[in-house]
Symmetry: C2
Subunit: 408 residues, 2 copies
């Protein structure tokens, strides 16, 4: 029933060959840029910290004045005032030979000083005299003006997704807005005569639409902007019109298909009408009835109707497609935990299997219990803690086998 | 300088003992509840799918009519119409003995039928006659009305954080709004004479405030609602007034301290004035100068001034505190990858070390290069891909040692 099925790797190669990063960037305030992907590399506009900075609480000194100091033979320095954090270094006179000035961590080293003696290596003999028990070399406990960052130094590559700490680094060098890729817009259409919106009573023979909402949430989690186009019955003209409307406003359109052959055939027909079919069937389970096509450079993906299958196919194919459209660097997205399989799970060779598992405490470690419910079962959505992936070349997992579970 | 230092585990025990889940829930539309934590368990209000449902494309039959069928001796059944997906079963007459009715995956089984013969085990002899080559038992390829979910069955525990798939499961049973814990409100105050807002030129001796923004983004990522209260100079009255104001509107107040002893002492004084100091110093690195206190059941946390230290202490102590306030089930939050240490990293016994690492490709696997910059360095924020945790009982990591890297 499926022609031209592809392995997931083959399909991802097709994604990289056929689709290209969007060429639209936008400026956003750095403080609101978490999760956005940089449209250009970023370099530091300045040296940081920009002034010689104490990294310990202690005394700013001329290093040579401390040479030879020891517990038994301390150096006596004249206490010449105090640096306060946040005060510019030039409000004090230069440090003269034989002088020390109290300085807190983060304080700006006064002119003349070139090192900081930690407070624990000193003793205040009287209000005007500090004893130094240990020598310091020039530069000790001082961060040089360009030690943290040099002006022009690259901070981030294009394609980097901004994390909380990155916002701090950018704001720390005064970059208060950044050029990021605009978010990918994804249209979601649910197809199938049997579907009603969740707020309606389905009545006999019908069920509530689930995929629109799981896919929407999955895409939001990945940083895209999903838009729901509602439910379309199994009718070629209606589906074609709705898909065209969604394509106008989207970079990617997902058709989450009904589970019957009829609906799948319809999706194929719409794809053929609008453009080119690139993949017709993926060698993954669940998720086999996945279709990928392109229309004027935009991607159309026909996803299976079963909620679990649709989510797995979205994770396996659509999320990497979004990353491609953003020019994003690949990076694992999911927490994983180690566990032992609680049961044997067979797998057909040549097919990538995503086994839903529930995690339970075992004697020695976590046990991963495979969930054998059909991929249409809603209960299994709620019950599964994560997925174990069985590679295509494997024939299955033994009971007791150590596995990594990707948490969902 | 620190009295009463605690291990992280001790501090987390104190968090569990002193702070309790908020007792405020709110109703939100299910479609917008991703990432929210359930305030009460949820049970299915109904049976699902609610009707006997075909799980294959094929023919609805009375199972007994297929008994004994084989390739050489097929059963002949009279084709009595077609079930369409989404149509109620009772619009068709009951299936009479000797009859079969075409049915798509997801279709409602007509009355009288009790099994589905897959289309590949049949042949259409003429428009009115189906040959069945394989017997089916009652229930084969049929999902019973309550097979997926039974009315009253527990779907989710209280304290469960809703994932994309969970929204689907809830909407699939018609639960269009859910009772979730209200978000935790966190006030963030930056302290230190040397700080200026990022949009200002710092001038000599001063630096831009970073922690307000990294902490805000980190808390947003964790699902809390942070609010910035700006920068307070190192002055007891001002800090006390600002902390009081923040406490009025927050469940938790973070004071991100300057790096000098003076600022730390000030934070302690404010905490002692407002309530009880619970932890004064954490045996983690970076992050040692972390202070935890409580005031009228609300938590006040004094975080280190160094940006890296503040983030690590927030992750180690504040995020678990937020989970406690939500009554959330513990669950790993970060992706991890396996790598080999590129260099030896020593660690003091009795201290939990969070080593920042950069991941680079090695011959056999990923290499984790420790970043040895001071925890005040902004460049190291940007450069680090993740953290390797050295347990308190370890004296360090050997070069070539296999480690798990938590991605940040």
């Amino acid at each position: 029933m499926f022609f031209n099925t592809k392995s997931l790797d083959e399909a991802l190669d097709i994604v990289r060959g056929k689709f290209h990063p969007l060429e639209e960037a936008e400026l956003v305030p750095t403080g609101e840029a978490r999760g956005r992907v940089l449209a250009a590399p970023i370099h530091s506009p300045l040296d940081l910290p920009g002034f010689p900075r104490a990294t310990m609480d202690g005394y700013a000194v001329r290093a040579r004045d401390t040479f030879g100091a020891s517990e038994g033979d301390p150096r006596k320095l004249r206490l010449a005032g105090e640096v306060r954090t946040g005060q510019p270094p030039d409000i004090y006179p230069s440090l003269a030979p034989g002088e020390a000035r109290a300085i807190p961590t983060g304080g700006a080293l006064p002119p003349g000083a070139d090192a900081v003696v930690p407070v624990e290596d000193t003793e205040l003999l009287d209000p005007e005299t500090v004893l130094v028990f240990s020598p310091v070399a020039p530069g000790t406990n001082v961060m040089a003006p360009d030690e943290d960052l040099q002006a022009g130094q690259k901070l981030f590559e294009k394609g980097h997704r901004l994390r909380p700490q990155d916002l701090g680094a950018l704001l720390g060098v005064g970059i208060t807005q950044v050029s990021v890729m605009r978010r990918v817009r994804v249209g979601i259409i649910s197809t199938g005569e049997e579907l009603v919106p969740p707020e309606e009573e389905p009545g006999p023979g019908r069920i509530r639409d689930i995929n629109s909402y799981t896919l929407k949430a999955q895409l939001e989690e990945a940083g895209a902007v999903p838009k729901l186009y509602g439910i379309v019955p199994d009718e070629a003209d209606a589906l074609l019109a709705k898909t065209r409307a969604a394509l106008m406003e989207s970079d990617v359109v997902l058709l989450s298909g009904g589970s019957s052959v009829g609906t799948r055939d319809l999706t194929m027909a719409v794809l053929a009408e609008l453009g080119e079919v690139l993949v017709h069937g993926l060698r993954i389970k669940p998720g086999k009835p996945t279709i990928l096509g392109s229309s004027d450079g935009k991607a159309i993906v026909g996803l299976p109707g079963n909620p679990v299958s649709a989510m797995v196919a979205c994770e396996a194919l659509v999320i990497p497609l979004l990353q491609r459209l953003l020019g994003e660097r690949e990076r694992p997205r999911r927490p994983i935990v180690l566990a032992e399989m609680a049961k044997h799970v067979p797998s057909a060779k040549g097919r990538l299997d995503f086994v839903r598992v529930k995690l339970v405490s075992g004697d020695r470690c976590l046990l991963a219990e495979p969930i054998l419910a059909q991929s249409g079962a809603i209960s299994s959505l709620a019950e599964a803690d994560g997925l174990v992936i069985i590679p295509a070349e494997s024939e299955g997992l033994e009971q007791g086998e150590r596995v990594t579970v990707e948490l969902w």
